[in-house]
Assembly symmetry: C2
Homo-oligomer: 242 residues x 2
Amino acid sequence: MKVRLPLSALVAGERTLDEAARHYAFRVLRLTDGDPFVAFDPDRALEASGTVLESTQGRVKLEPPHEALIRAAREILWVQGGAKGEKMDAVVRDATELGATGFCGARTERSLLKLDGKKAEERRSRWERIAREAARQSGRGDGVTVLPWMGWQDALAAAPPGAARFCAWEGATTPLGPLLQPALLTNCPLAFAAGPEGGLTEGEAADAEAAGWTLVSLGVFLLRTETVAAAVLGAVRVFTPL
Amino acid sequence: MKVRLPLSALVAGERTLDEAARHYAFRVLRLTDGDPFVAFDPDRALEASGTVLESTQGRVKLEPPHEALIRAAREILWVQGGAKGEKMDAVVRDATELGATGFCGARTERSLLKLDGKKAEERRSRWERIAREAARQSGRGDGVTVLPWMGWQDALAAAPPGAARFCAWEGATTPLGPLLQPALLTNCPLAFAAGPEGGLTEGEAADAEAAGWTLVSLGVFLLRTETVAAAVLGAVRVFTPL
């Protein structure tokens, strides 16, 4: 696979890269004069073939951009109850790699992650950066929309219209598989939600049901909250007909 | 769920806990006199109900042990090409939580993890500790067998007899899902293998095929090596009929 360079505002022709793109192209990717690469804009799901003209000047040339070839096949929102430390970062990374198109961090009763207005915006920017980097690493041409940090009820309402909605909950007895399978045979959007480390309260589970989400069990072993996204989105990926 | 205390050599009656078990029971789990708990021996998949008699003395009482109620439903081996840093630890943790019964770290051509005799044994002990802890956290009554660090060919030969064998490979075009689905409807053992960060060589992929493994694709997005186990074992878990 050709190396992939994230760039915004793709247009055909010559351009001088900005400082950050230069660093990435010539220090990280070690591109040199004459090297081909693929420039991509995950936000617009566009790609363009490129060639390095003069690395010392940061000059490159782009061909006309076209729709990204490698992109998520369906809309998938992951709602994650706010968890501590680097767990949210890990979930954003896994979800991006495994095909989510939207990520929403949600404030729940037992969330150990507390974010006020400014911190919430900073964290959202961080998740956006992580998603962008994960998209690049996985070769995805499209990006993940990171929604603002919001309350549980608002996050439940953020599911794409027409989405099949599943909320993982310890107290649930309905297994996810048999309900997910028919949805995978269609192109319908999907939405999943998982609680933070301490799980969802009964009230929050009831909120999910009231908002049209099905409470589902992931089996008899307890999963750490940061494993749920990889496990569930892995299942979606493995069992999505190609 | 009652708190779970890992203990070896479970027998009915009173006993004095050793230093490590005391620390875990009274400092970490914060059990106090009269508290009930479940003692479990993941290596033998046994459990026993217990009660704290005198925490200051480390005295507890156990009921007769019985077979662990929560245990893996089938044999699943995960073979992981040796990867750097903490990635192997993460894979052991995820695999345990998601129901693997065996883990094998394998030396491959592009493995950045290099282990000689003594280091290999130390690392194996570390993975055993991590698996034990992950089993405890997930409420599993049984344990994961950590095989010795070995070469790729030997690891391929370590699949349980009669196992359906799948090796994830970037160069493969056959999707895993349709092949995995029929296997999930039986109780047959499963074996999965994944390469290290740099992937498997064509020669290693050919070795896998020669050893009866099917080379499978996990889709168009590249996965980091440390995500593969969670994604694949998540798929097994979600789509295993309960």
